[in-house]
Symmetry: C2
């Protein structure tokens, strides 16, 4: 019996999807993803409603989802990250139930344990054979790693692979095995290559961000971790990439032979791999085309599942073996708690992703942030939403100095000995307030529109509904 | 907290193993395996008893196990194959409970579904890092694929990796992820390289076997499957290898571009891959060093799990996509039922392995066998033990002609049109009896010492205790 079905509608019907069930999606196609919208349109046509969507992330490309939230096709949302477009609708109360926010490690943990069962998983696959052996390595919509999709594929009751590049059986270097796949649907395009991965990720030229990156690099140097065996994770933001570039220069100059780079991967990390800075890259998602190409061709660049990356219930994970991670913040407070969920107005504009996972796992978790952005303080008395608890954040680097978490007296001493410009985080807050004024409290309703689950599943914070301006 | 423990005894204690629990082993180290014996000795020293061993296969190297069966350390055995040494002890009634025989596909299916839970899995790993990321690709005890160990690693309550090649974290091209591993123990040697894999597998020079191989090749040619897209599995026996060599010659001569070769892998299949006969090898276990080397270096040669290979409860498996498989037989009867479990005396000397899985999956399942071996008939009225049901066997090829299963009238017509020497299987039995006489019935007790589970979990046959000669 062939698994190959003619349309998404046929696959939805074949899957047995019913009102109230849970469907899942992964976000490796990022802001180029077509699959979530196409599937939800097919479901809406079949008049199935009150579904829960468990997506590893929701991007602005998923704006059409708002319609399904309003119409009742979708009654619940779960995600590790949510872009500001759907975030705004949620913040304004489009759903009756709060969105469940998890982390990139917590999500597969909950799927594997059965805490968040999935009825039908839809796997956007840049290449697949007719049995569902699939990969993100090649095809016109190549996205590289499919790391976040493994738990869905292995634990959902039904699994539908959606591809725009159907290849001869057997697809040899599959990431997800046919053993898990029920149905395969070929569509014209699973995504817009422009949105799937940027051509290249670019480091910043902003002098403030460069100053912060220089200080962050000095912290890493002084921490003692930057030696043979060094392992490193950094994001795709311009400031993070500037840190990566600096670290690379030091490693090459001092002939430091690092161990591994982890996480979402950019061309900058690939350059470091190719320059011999690291033995390997462990890759849960690719941020740019250079990373995709490297994953396809370099055996030192390997795909890992989200569980292998960061699951708190895995018997161990790579995040726990990490030396240094460089993280961003929308807000950070005097207890070193970080918010990457909501903006200063209380609107949802992100989510943890792997933020709190690697902060907990890494030996040195560095947050880099300017004191303010667009005349809004980043360093505040208390964050509006706790994404990552302060006890897991070791140091904050701003353009006006470096604040060390009081829990890390050892690190503070090291950095002081190295002559780095240390400040108290409270003083950074004051500096920010002197520039921007005391931040206004956003106008929030009592209703909780988002529940933030920490990586271990405990509720770490709630996100409240934003009061819409009168007449809006 | 480090997973690295100083001894197997420490690992057994740390795992929480108690009387009556189930431990598991895989057999990629084949007759060179030290791990099962070492672990069972450590367990015996700790005075833990009445255990069940679920091993993918038991080899003659595991003869010391007989002592643990007698002493009560082990009260139950489950395996897909059992060599004649432990087989003899079992056949003579050393255990109170029957051995559970499964297939290579049925075993992971039962482990994954929870029908045969494993408390502690011991993974013999030719290379591992301290977190348990491990592989069979390299190390002094390299065995290639770890296909049979995946289900154990992913579903056992506790997982202990035993290695003789501890490498720096992270082992990059792991087969089994640290996410599943609780403890790692380094030992001097996990096996004897001489027994792990033979240096090379050799085809037969026996003229009878060569005649059978020629006929089998003609059957494959006439079947219509030997064209572009051809997929193929054969064992490591001399006759099977001769068929492979013939098939290779035809494929090269006619420029046939096959699809994949499946199953246990030999240098002969590697030669075919390298000669361009196949796009890929899907490898669940390596039979010789050339296969190990190929799996390590050739990206077209890929490791698959036992579930991906042949699980009946997988949503699909490679065995179901197979065109042609060449299988052996200890006995085959007039209903085309095949016995590879017991010899003519009723003694356990093998087991299904993947025999019944691929017979069920392949479009053409060919059994090759001489009419007799050592003056004992192979073609018999009724097999002593049904390993593989006759309805899944399409054709028997002997040196005295080809018998087609009456269920395959289409195939019979094709072979007749090709002018092949067709005979009735009953006539082959008569020829065998004329040479060897009517086989004596072995002297068996009522007690069942082995239960043969078909791949779907149903009991397909029982193996009875052999009556020991008086005074023995």
């Amino acid at each position: 019996m062939s698994k190959l079905l003619a349309s998404l509608g046929e696959a939805v019907t074949a899957s047995g999807l019913k009102d109230g069930m849970t469907v899942s999606f992964h976000h490796h196609l990022r802001n180029g993803d077509y699959v979530l919208n196409m599937v939800m349109d097919a479901i809406a046509k079949l008049k199935i409603g009150n579904l829960t969507i468990n997506a590893s992330s929701i991007f602005d490309a998923h704006a059409p989802l708002i319609h399904h939230l309003r119409s009742g096709v979708v009654g619940g949302l779960e995600a590790n990250y949510m872009g500001s477009t759907v975030g705004r609708a949620v913040s304004e109360g489009v759903l009756n139930k709060p969105v469940i926010f998890r982390t990139h490690g917590g999500r597969p943990s909950d799927i594997e344990s059965g805490k968040s069962p999935i009825d039908v998983a839809f796997i956007a696959a840049p290449s697949s054979d007719s049995a569902g052996n699939c990969t993100g390595r090649f095809g016109k919509s190549a996205c590289g790693s499919l790391g976040y999709a493994f738990a869905d594929a292995m634990h959902a009751k039904k699994v539908v692979v959606v591809t725009d590049n159907l290849v001869d059986y057997p697809l040899r270097d599959y990431s997800i095995s046919e053993a898990h796949v029920d149905y395969v649907v070929r569509v014209d395009a699973i995504g817009d290559p422009q949105g799937i991965v940027s051509g290249t990720t670019r480091m910043t030229r902003d002098p403030v961000a460069l100053r912060i990156a220089d200080l962050a690099t000095q912290v890493i140097s002084a921490s003692g971790f930057l030696k043979d065996g060094f392992s490193f994770q950094t994001g795709a933001g311009g400031g993070s990439l500037a840190v990566a570039q600096n670290v690379r220069n030091i490693m090459r100059e001092k002939k430091i032979q690092g161990s591994f780079a982890l996480g979402g991967t950019t061309g900058y990390l690939v350059d470091m791999l190719e320059a011999g800075c690291f033995e390997s890259i462990l890759d849960v998602q690719c941020f740019d085309l250079k990373a995709v190409e490297s994953l396809r061709t370099n055996p030192r660049h390997v795909e890992i599942s989200a569980s292998h990356y960061a699951s708190p219930s895995a018997k161990s994970c790579a995040a726990e073996a990490l030396d240094v991670v460089v993280l961003g913040a929308t807000q950070i407070d005097c207890g070193f708690n970080v918010n990457v969920h909501t903006d200063s107005g209380g609107y949802i504009i992100g989510g943890s992703g792997g933020h709190s996972d690697v902060a907990a796992g890494a030996k040195l978790a560095l947050v880099i942030a300017p004191l303010s952005r667009a005349r809004l303080s980043i360093v505040v008395e208390k964050v509006l939403t706790v994404t990552t608890p302060g006890k897991t954040v070791d140091v904050l680097v701003t353009q006006c100095g470096i604040a060390v978490n009081p829990l890390r007296a050892d690190l503070r001493q090291q950095l002081a000995r190295a002559g780095l410009p240390l400040v108290e985080i409270g003083d950074l807050r004051k500096m920010a307030e002197e520039t921007n004024g005391i931040p206004q409290k956003p106008d929030l309703e009592e209703k909780i529109v988002g529940k933030v689950l920490y990586r271990d599943g405990t509720v770490i914070d709630g996100i409240r509904q934003v009061r819409r301006p009168a007449g809006a």
